[in-house]
Symmetry: C2
Subunit: 86 residues, 2 copies
Amino acid sequence: MSLDQLETVVAIAEEGAVVRAARRLHLTQPPVTRRLQALEDELGVQLFERLPNGMRPTDAGRRFLSHARAILGAVERAREDLATES
Amino acid sequence: MSLDQLETVVAIAEEGAVVRAARRLHLTQPPVTRRLQALEDELGVQLFERLPNGMRPTDAGRRFLSHARAILGAVERAREDLATES
DNA sequence: CATGCTTACGGATCACGTAACCATG
DNA sequence: CATGGTTACGTGATCCGTAAGCATG
C-alpha cells in the first residue's frame, strides 16, 4: 500500500471514472488503472465495480475509502504541524 | 512522503540507531540512512540528532513520530477491516 | 464510432546492496 | 580498531507514457 494508491482510489471515487481521476492526478489512464489493480491485488478485495460508463465503489471499497481519507488527512496534518511550528 | 519512510523513522527512533533499524527492516544501513535523508529533505526539518553512538529524535522529530505512528496505525486498521469482514 | 478500461512494451527513474570512506571512543 | 553513519556506484525493479486492444451504448 502506498499513499499514491490511496490518493488514486479517492480520486476515482470522487470523479466516478478512471479517465477523470487521471486528469486530476496529472496522469494518463493506464497508471491509474494499474495503481488500482495493484492495490486490489494486495488487499485481495475488489474496491470498484467496473460499469460501462465508469467506476462505482463496492461495499468493501466504501469502507476502504473512509480509511483512505482518514490516512491522507493524518498525513496532511503531519505536514502542516512541521511547517507551522518550525 | 511514503509509508516506508514512516516505518523507517519509527524503527530508527525505537532502536536508537540506523544499524539496528536496518536489521529490523531487513535492509542494510545505506537505504535506511537515505530514506531518512529524503524525508528530512522533503519536510525541510531535521528529525534526528546524529550522536556518536546513535540517533536521537529532535523536538520536531518527536512531534513527527507521533504523527507517523498514528498514520501507520490507521493503515493497519484499514488492512484489518478489509481482512476481517470480507 | 465515441467513451472508457485494460494490456503490451520501451525507456527513464528509483532504490537496493556492495564497497569504500569518515568520525568518534 | 570497533562501532555507527554516510557517500559512490552499478544493477535490478518500478512506474510512467505511447500505442494498441477490447467492450459497451
